[in-house]
C-alpha cells in the first residue's frame, strides 16, 4: 500500500475527475466520443510504455516525436506502394527499432548523455524528413485506415492493442528478470555491473524497445486517418514524458511502473474533454496540464526530501 502510494494518488485524482464529470457532465460518458478519445490516446500510451522503461533506467529519449514522424511517413509510403497492413506493421516497428538502436548505440556504446544524443537525433530526423518530403502528405490506399476494418471495429482494435501492450509490458517489468534489471541499472548501474549484469546492453535494448514501440504507435496513428501528415509526431515527446512523470516514474531513475504512467496519461488526456463538457474555455487546457505536471514534480521532490536516505 505504502509502496504504491504515489501511483494510487494519481489514480485517485483521475477518479475524482471522472466522478466530477459523471455528476456535472454525464454527456462525457457517451460511448462513441469516449471510444474516440481512447483511440486518439492509444498511440501515446504505446510510446509511454517504452518511455517509462527508458526513464526508469535513468535515461531519456526526447527524439520519440521525430521517430514517430519518420515511422509514420515510412509506413504511409510502403502502404501507398501496395504493401498489405500485416507487412506495414512490422516494417514500421522495425524502422522505429532501427532509430532507437542509433540512440541506444550512442548512449550505451559511447556512454554519451542521452538528453544530448536524443536532442541531436530529434533535430536531425525532423529536419531530414522535412528535406526529403518537403512537407508532402502521403495519401493512403484503402485497407489501411482503421486497419482495414470498419471505423468502430478499427477503433476497438487500436485501443485493445494499446491496452494489451500496456498489460504485457507492465507485467514483464514486474515479473521478468529483465524488468528487475531495468530498475537495477536505473538505481545504480555500476553496482549492477559488479553484480555480473550487463547495464550497457540493457540500456541499448531499452532504447531499441522504445523505438519499436514508437514505430507500432505510429502505425496505430496512421490507421486513424486517410492520409499521413509529415510531422504527426511533433510534440509527442513532451506529452509522453509528462504522462510518465505524472504517473510517478522518477526522472532520476529506479522508480515507477506502467500502471502509474497509464493513470498519468489518462489524467492529462481527460483535461480537454472535461473543459469542453464543463463549458470552460479550451485555452485552459495547457495551463491545467502544466499545473498537474508541476504538482507531480513538487510532490516527488517533497517525498524524496523527506524519505531520502542519502
Amino acid at each position: 500500500m505504502k509502496t504504491y502510494f504515489r501511483e494510487l494518488s494519481v489514480a485517485a485524482a483521475l477518479g475524482v475527475v471522472l466522478l466530477a464529470l459523471a455528476v456535472f457532465a454525464p454527456a462525457f460518458y457517451q460511448p462513441q466520443p469516449l471510444l474516440s478519445l481512447l483511440t486518439r490516446e492509444a498511440p501515446t500510451l504505446v510510446v509511454a510504455c517504452g518511455m517509462a522503461l527508458v526513464i526508469i533506467s535513468r535515461q531519456i529519449d526526447i527524439s520519440v516525436g521525430s521517430q514517430f514522424s519518420v515511422c509514420s511517413v515510412c509506413a504511409g509510403l510502403l502502404a501507398a506502394r501496395g504493401w498489405p497492413i500485416y507487412l506495414v506493421l512490422p516494417a514500421s516497428a522495425a524502422c522505429g527499432a532501427f532509430l532507437g538502436a542509433i540512440n541506444g548505440a550512442l548512449v550505451a556504446g559511447l556512454r554519451l548523455p542521452s538528453i544530448v544524443v536524443t536532442l541531436a537525433t530529434m533535430v536531425t530526423l525532423r529536419q531530414g524528413l522535412n528535406l526529403v518530403r518537403q512537407g508532402e502528405f502521403v495519401n493512403l490506399p484503402d485497407g489501411i485506415q482503421w486497419l482495414g476494418l470498419g471505423q468502430t471495429a478499427g477503433q476497438w482494435l487500436i485501443v485493445l492493442t494499446a491496452l494489451g501492450l500496456l498489460v504485457a509490458f507492465g507485467l514483464a517489468l514486474r515479473h521478468l528478470a529483465a524488468g528487475r534489471l531495468v530498475y537495477a541499472i536505473g538505481s545504480d548501474a555500476e553496482a549492477a555491473r559488479l553484480a555480473g549484469l550487463r547495464p550497457q546492453l540493457s540500456t541499448f535494448l531499452v532504447f531499441v524497445l522504445l523505438g519499436a514501440l514508437t514505430g507500432l504507435a505510429a502505425l496505430l496513428n496512421v490507421a486513424q486517418s486517410p492520409q499521413v501528415q509529415p510531422l504527426s509526431g511533433s510534440g509527442l515527446e513532451l506529452k509522453v514524458i509528462a504522462a510518465v512523470v505524472v504517473g510517478g516514474v522518477a526522472i532520476s531513475g529506479g522508480r515507477g511502473n506502467l500502471w502509474g504512467a497509464f493513470a498519468g496519461l489518462l489524467l492529462l488526456a481527460c483535461v480537454a474533454p472535461a473543459l469542453t463538457h464543463l463549458h470552460v474555455e479550451a485555452y485552459w487546457e495547457k495551463a491545467i496540464q502544466g499545473a498537474i505536471i508541476l504538482l507531480a514534480v513538487v510532490a516527488d521532490g517533497l517525498r524524496s526530501r523527506k524519505g531520502g536516505h542519502r
Binding site: 514486474r174 515479473h175 521478468l176 528478470a177 529483465a178 524488468g179 528487475r180 534489471l181 530498475y183 537495477a184 538505481s187 545504480d188 555500476e190 553496482a191 549492477a192 555491473r193 559488479l194 553484480a195 555480473g196 549484469l197 550487463r198 529506479g254 522508480r255 536516505h309 542519502r310
Partner: protein, 501 residues
C-alpha cells in the same frame, strides 16, 4: 582552567519517534584533542550536526566560550569559530584550491573585483601553516582525498576556527598521509584550538587524544583521560559488554591450492608482475597503503579490467577472465569497497539485492519467482543476523554493518569458491565488525578461499592465514599470518622499481 571552549549539557534530540540523543554532556577545552567514540547509531553524527547548527536540539544547552547559544544556525556556528572537516571533503572539484579557500573566506559583494595574487598568497600561507605542499592554482579534482582534507583544514584555520570537528578524517588515508594529518592535529592543539576527533580506529585515539567521551545509545557514558584507559576498557565502554577477543582465532587448516596467480599484470590499471596462490579455506590478507593497487588487483581477478599478461589458474583450470559474468561463472565473487555506491543498491529491497547476482540460476525461465527470492533472502537475514524490518525493506534503511552483510549475502548466494572482500569493515561499528570477522572465519572453515583487502592493519594481521603486501602495483612480500605490524608496514613502504624493468 578558564571556561571551556564548548560545553554541551543534557542535549536531547528526537527524529519522529526515534530518540537519537538522550542526554549528552560534553565539554571541550582550548588546546585539547577530545575524541568522541561510539558505535554507528550511537548519536555521534547527530551531535555534530547540532554543534554545527544543522539541527536544533530538543532540549539541553550549548555553551560556546562561556556564552549560552540558542538557535544555532550553520552561519552562526561558523561565526563562532566552529568548523567541521568531513570524511568526504565538500569542495568544488572544478575550482582551484585558492578559489575554494576564497569561496569560504572572502566576504564582499558578488560584483567586487577579485585580487588574484592576494587570493593565491593567502591560500599559500594557510597551506604552508599546516605543512601541506599543494599548489594554490591546482584544480581540486586533481588532488587526492587527503590533500582535499588538508585544504578543508586550511579553510577552517583561515576562518579563525577555535573548535575543529574531524569526522573520521583518516578513513581513506594512507599510512604516511595519516601521520601528516596527526602532525596537523597536534599543531592545531599547540595553537590552542580545540579538536573534536571522531574515529573508529582505537590506536589513533590512544596516539592523539587527551580525553575521550564515549556515546552509547544516544547518551554519554563517560569522559576519561585517555591515559587512564586500555583498549579493552574503551571497547567495553562503547559496546557495554566485555569483548573477550577482538579477532576470532583461525579454526581450520587450509586445504588444496585453489587459485594460482602467476606474473599477472594489467597495463590499464597499473598492476604488474603479481604472483601468489590461495588455498581453499584460507584467508589471504592483502595489505598495503591506499593506492598500492590492491583494489586494482581485485578488479583484474574479477574480470572488470582484464589482465593483459600472466596466468590465472583456478583449481587447475586456466582462466581468461574478460568480464564479471565469466568470473562469476567460475565461482569468483567480489564484494567491492564503497558499499554504499557499488556493493548494494540502496533504493532496492534487501531481497532484490540478495538475488541480483543469481538471476539466471534462480529464475531459469526469466519469470521472477518471488516466493523463492523471499525465502532465500529470509535465510540470509537469519544466517547473517541482518537487523532489518524484513526482506522487503530497502537496503538504504539499514545501518552500515547490516548493509555490508547484505552485500556479502548477494555473493554468498552465488555459492562462490573464492571470495574477494574489499574493505569489508570500513565505516562499520565495532560490534558489527566483530560479527563480520566471525562470519569470514566461518566461511573459511566451510572451505571458501578468501582474499581480504583491508587498510586496517590490525584487521589484516588478526584475520589472515597469510599476508600479501602490495606496493606500487605489485606484490612485494608474502608474510605468514601473525607477522608483526612493523614487518608488514616495512614491506608496504618499500616501493621496488625492479618490476618495471
Amino acid at each position: 582552567m578558564s571556561s571551556p571552549l564548548l560545553a554541551l549539557s543534557q542535549l536531547t534530540k528526537s527524529f519522529g519517534g526515534a530518540r537519537a540523543l538522550r542526554g549528552v554532556n560534553f565539554d571541550l577545552q582550548a588546546g585539547e584533542v577530545h575524541a568522541l567514540l561510539g558505535e554507528n547509531g550511537a548519536g555521534k553524527s547527530t551531535l555534530i550536526k547540532i554543534v554545527t547548527g544543522a539541527h536544533q536540539p530538543d532540549g539541553g544547552t550549548i555553551t560556546v566560550a562561556g556564552q549560552i547559544v540558542a538557535g544555532l544556525t550553520p552561519a552562526a556556528a561558523h561565526a563562532l569559530g566552529i568548523a567541521c572537516i568531513y570524511q568526504q571533503p565538500a569542495l568544488f572539484p572544478d575550482l582551484t584550491v585558492a578559489e575554494n579557500i576564497a569561496l569560504r573566506l572572502e566576504a564582499g559583494s558578488a560584483l567586487r573585483r577579485v585580487d588574484w595574487p592576494a587570493r593565491r598568497a593567502r591560500a599559500h600561507d594557510l597551506l604552508a601553516r599546516i605543512g601541506a605542499s599543494i599548489a594554490p592554482t591546482a584544480e581540486v579534482r586533481t588532488l587526492s582525498m587527503p590533500e582535499q582534507q588538508l585544504v578543508e583544514i586550511a579553510c577552517a584555520l583561515g576562518a579563525g576556527a577555535r573548535i575543529v570537528i574531524m569526522d573520521e578524517p583518516t578513513a581513506s588515508l594512507t599510512h604516511q598521509e595519516q601521520h601528516l594529518l596527526y602532525a596537523v592535529v597536534r599543531d592545531l592543539r599547540a595553537h590552542g584550538v580545540g579538536v573534536i576527533y571522531i574515529s573508529h580506529r582505537l590506536e589513533e585515539i590512544f596516539m592523539l587524544a587527551d580525553r575521550v567521551t564515549v556515546l552509547r545509545d544516544g547518551q554519554s557514558v563517560g569522559t576519561h583521560p585517555v591515559d587512564t584507559l586500555t583498549e579493552a576498557a574503551l571497547i567495553r565502554l562503547m559496546v557495554g559488554r566485555e569483548m573477550t577477543q577482538i579477532y576470532p582465532p583461525a579454526e581450520s587448516v587450509p586445504g588444496d591450492t585453489l587459485l594460482t596467480v602467476c606474473d599477472v599484470g594489467c597495463a590499464a590499471s597499473g598492476v604488474h608482475h603479481v604472483s601468489f596462490d590461495v588455498r581453499a579455506g584460507e584467508i589471504f590478507g592483502l595489505g598495503g597503503l591506499v593506492g598500492a593497487g590492491r583494489t586494482e588487483l581485485a578488479r583484474v581477478l574479477f574480470g572488470l579490467t582484464p589482465a593483459d599478461s600472466g596466468e590465472i589458474t583456478l583449481a587447475g583450470r586456466r582462466l581468461s577472465l574478460g568480464s564479471p559474468q565469466e568470473a562469476i561463472a567460475h565461482g569468483l565473487a567480489y564484494v567491492p569497497e564503497d558499499r554504499r555506491r557499488h556493493g548494494v543498491v540502496l533504493d532496492l529491497p534487501i531481497a532484490h539485492n540478495v538475488t541480483m547476482a543469481i538471476h539466471r540460476p534462480l529464475f531459469p525461465t526469466t519469470w521472477l519467482r518471488f516466493g523463492a527470492e523471499r525465502s532465500l533472502a529470509l535465510e540470509f537475514i537469519r544466517d547473517l543476523a541482518v537487523k532489518c524490518a524484513g526482506p522487503a525493506a530497502p537496503v538504504g534503511s539499514l545501518s552500515g554493518g547490516n548493509q555490508q552483510k547484505v552485500a556479502l549475502a548477494r555473493w554468498l548466494a552465488t555459492k562462490p569458491r573464492l571470495l574477494i572482500l574489499d574493505e569489508p569493515t570500513q565505516g562499520v561499528d565495532v560490534g558489527a565488525k566483530g560479527e563480520i570477522h566471525r562470519l569470514i572465519r566461518r566461511l573459511a572453515k566451510e572451505g571458501l578461499a578468501v582474499i581480504l583487502i583491508s587498510s586496517d592493519l590490525p584487521e589484516v594481521l588478526g584475520m589472515s592465514d597469510r599476508i600479501g603486501v602490495m606496493a606500487g602495483g605489485t606484490l612485494t612480500a608474502i608474510l605468514p599470518g601473525h607477522s608483526d605490524a612493523h614487518t608488514v608496514m616495512a614491506a608496504a613502504l618499500g616501493t621496488p622499481e625492479k618490476g618495471a624493468a
